[in-house]
């Protein structure tokens, strides 16, 4: 048993400010959302002034709400496509392709990070300019090549925002995997090179076991981020006809466009629970690995 640097009391004292902040800015608003979600409060009309407590009525309504199921389906596809397959997959591939190639890596990293650090509103406009049906760069290129102009936002709305989000967020996964690869002792791979092992075997037996825990960290973070992302709203507004309406956009529409605060809060609570379940699932995976 290693002796800790400080006594327990000191540690608790030092943690108090952080815990206080978490309580004020996270726990309290969370409880407030729970409370509002059990009322029929609205932003206009009589229920804005005197909302009633309705218990779990909102939740019953959500479970028979076709817009909710649509939003849930869109969100899950979006997370699967753009986070788990897209960002993690592409990030890992880029990290592997540039592994032990210092110059190439710094070049690729700077390009990828650029997509990550430009402000969201700017990025959204760039993509609209790129994909617009009549004036978009992509359609200009297609028509130069003699191909049909495609109305991307209307014909392929979900693939469009998935692609957008992969482009936007791959940087984080790539950086994380690049750093993870650095932790593998070079002698392992050198030995493997000497023996003449295939690339796949190298990945399966040496690289992957060494970066497993990083992979999990990456997946937890990007899943939760992607699940709650709102940026696609700037591209499609949740349309056409709700085909890109993520849960976050649906909550926004319910609460701030149709002013149903209570109902919106109950959907937000459900989204919170789904987030929680996802996080638990990942954590259980990491525990099983350690056991």
């Amino acid at each position: 048993m290693r002796k800790s640097l400080m006594g327990k009391k000191v540690v608790v004292l030092l943690l108090i400010p952080a815990l206080a902040l978490i309580f004020i800015f996270l726990i309290l608003p969370g409880l407030w959302v729970l409370k509002i979600g059990m009322t029929n409060e609205t932003l206009t009309g009589a229920k804005a002034r005197n909302p009633d407590f309705v218990g779990f009525e909102n939740y019953a309504k959500v479970l028979s709400d076709r817009f909710f199921y649509n939003a849930l389906r869109v969100t899950l596809l979006f997370v699967l496509g753009s986070a788990i397959v897209g960002q993690a997959g592409l990030g890992l591939s880029l990290a592997l392709l540039t592994y032990r190639k210092r110059k190439l890596r710094s070049f690729v990293q700077s390009v990828v990070i650029l997509a990550w650090i430009i402000p969201e509103v700017v990025v959204a406009y760039l993509w609209i300019a790129f994909l617009d049906k009549d004036y978009g760069t992509l359609n200009m290129l297609l028509s130069v090549l003699g191909l049909r102009k495609v109305n991307w936002f209307y014909e392929y709305p979900l693939p469009t925002i998935i692609t957008f989000n992969i482009w936007r967020g791959t940087a984080y996964s790539m950086l994380l995997f690049s750093a993870a690869l650095e932790t593998i002792p070079p002698s392992y791979l050198e030995t493997a090179d000497v023996i003449g092992v295939s690339a796949w075997r190298k990945f399966k037996d040496i690289i992957f076991p060494n970066i497993k825990s990083y992979t999990l960290t990456d997946l937890i973070l990007i899943t939760l981020w992607t699940f709650n992302v709102f940026t696609p709203y700037l591209l499609t507004g949740g349309g056409p006809s709700f085909r890109t309406e993520l849960l976050s956009i649906y909550i926004y529409r319910t609460a701030f466009r149709y002013f149903k605060l209570g109902y919106g809060a109950s959907i937000a609570t459900i989204a919170l629970l789904i987030n929680f379940a996802l996080a638990m699932f990942y954590l259980s995976l990491s525990r099983r690995k350690k056991a």
Partner: protein
């Protein structure tokens, strides 16, 4: 540095002691949406500031109506917001129920012009026996058409359809003769919000002798043959004959995109309100205005369905006006500002900059004769007798959303007409209760 600090402090204190301030918010921005409104305020605010010795601030926005509404609501709910709110009349009931607006009957007592307002206009601004809004202007709705495109397609001008069939026939000719031009823009879908309900859905439904609300029984109409015909008309235009662009209706920023396309002469007919002509297409609007608007753009009354017993022509009216925020600290001052904005001279100037149907009898005559605004004079004379108003109850916005959804599901082909009506009936019943809905033959 020290001196500067002292100066700032003195100025701050001076402002605190003497600086009385009135704020006004309007959905307008210089060079963009309702640019004429900003120009008008800039013309008159300095005078009023000088006369009253106060500071008047205009908050410009110029955004989607739905976003503007959300902003005002959140401002007031948070205990703030501008003193004078230039809002849409149909928001009044839900705002009053929420306790966001101050009754202004005491302020109106200070305003000599109030006696000239038409009763129907006074009714638009009142709710449950109190007045909350001074109407600024009202409007009518019609079909605009691009004369140049009509000439190219060989359609005789002036054009005045007598039935839905006439509209379809004209649209077919345009489709055939002018590829790449969208024959007709009839608003549909939720993206356009209230513009779909007013300029699209209602204009068709009224023409079939239908309505959303039955004034006799005081119930919402969930099924009727008029409703079915309305949606079938939408279906013919957008699905069966592709005389309109369904994808456009449901894409982000649809309304602005259609303005843009009309400006580029890629839309031949557009069902819209007065505002479209006097503000969007106004030669002084840098975004979408036509320099030669009066020669280039014609208008026709929207016909009824065309069956015996149907209305000959239809129109529906809304309007915006001045309301006072419940959080307003200084109603006396607000009364003084409003009083001056409503003097005859600034009002005449307003209707000159942004011609509209006047809500006041003393302006109406001078507007038509003094300003010679041919368009307003003609459209008012032709359409005011046909026009009607929205059933502006606190629950109306929710029903309106369901109506938008109806059109969206039909024009995008997501649902058949019958299925969409089924959904509509179910949702409206859920919103207002079984005892408040009715089915009509």
């Amino acid at each position: 540095m020290k001196r500067l600090l002292v100066l700032v402090l003195v100025l701050a204190m001076a402002a605190f002691i003497f600086g009385e301030k009135v704020t006004i918010i309007a959905n307008a921005i210089k060079g963009g949406k309702n640019t004429q409104v900003v120009d008008w305020f800039e013309k008159y605010i300095p005078e009023i500031e000088k006369e009253l010795g106060i500071d008047i601030e205009l908050i410009q926005t110029g955004i989607k109506d739905e976003d503007f509404k959300a902003r005002i609501v959140l401002d007031i709910k948070g205990g703030g917001g501008a003193d004078i709110l230039w809002i849409d009349g149909f928001w009044v009931p839900e705002f009053v129920e929420a306790g966001y607006l101050r009754p202004i009957d005491d302020i109106l007592a200070e305003i000599p012009a109030w006696k000239y307002y038409y009763d129907s206009m006074k009714a638009m601004g009142s709710y449950k026996g109190k007045t909350y809004l001074i109407p600024a202007s009202t409007d009518v709705r019609m079909i605009y058409y691009n004369k140049e495109l009509f000439k190219k397609a060989g359609i005789p001008i002036p054009w005045q359809p007598r039935s839905w069939e006439d509209i379809i026939k004209t649209a077919r000719i345009i489709k055939e003769k002018l590829p790449g031009v969208i024959p007709i823009q009839l608003n549909a879908g939720t993206e356009m919000g209230e513009a779909t309900t007013m300029q699209g859905f209602f204009m068709v439904l009224l023409g079939a002798g239908g309505n959303l609300y039955d004034w006799e029984t005081g119930k919402w109409i969930i099924k009727s043959s008029a409703l079915r015909d309305t949606l079938n008309f939408y279906k013919r235009i957008y699905v069966d004959e592709k005389l309109g662009d369904a994808a456009l209706q449901v894409s982000a920023g649809a309304r602005e995109k259609t303005f843009e396309l009309f400006r580029q002469e890629k839309i031949a007919m557009y069902v819209e309100g007065t505002w479209f002509y006097t503000s969007v297409l106004n030669p002084n609007n840098p975004s979408w205005g036509f320099p030669d608007r009066d020669e280039r753009i014609g208008w026709a009354a929207m016909p009824g369905r065309g069956k015996p017993g149907d209305p000959e022509f239809v129109s529906i009216s809304g309007g915006t006006g001045f309301a006072v925020n419940i959080n307003c600290k200084n109603p006396k001052l607000v009364a003084e500002v409003l009083k001056r904005l409503l003097y005859i001279e600034p009002q005449l100037s307003y209707f000159e900059m942004k011609p509209f149907v006047s809500p006041r009898s003393d302006l109406a005559d001078s507007c038509w004769t003094v300003n010679k605004d041919k368009f307003i004079a003609e459209t008012s004379r032709a359409l005011v007798k046909y026009t009607t108003f929205r059933p502006a109850f606190p629950v109306y916005p929710e029903i309106s959303f369901q109506a938008q959804l109806l059109t969206e599901r039909v024009v995008t082909g997501q649902m058949s007409v019958d299925k969409a009506i089924e959904e509509f009936a179910k949702e409206v019943t859920r919103i207002v209760g079984k005892e408040n809905v009715i089915e009509k033959p």
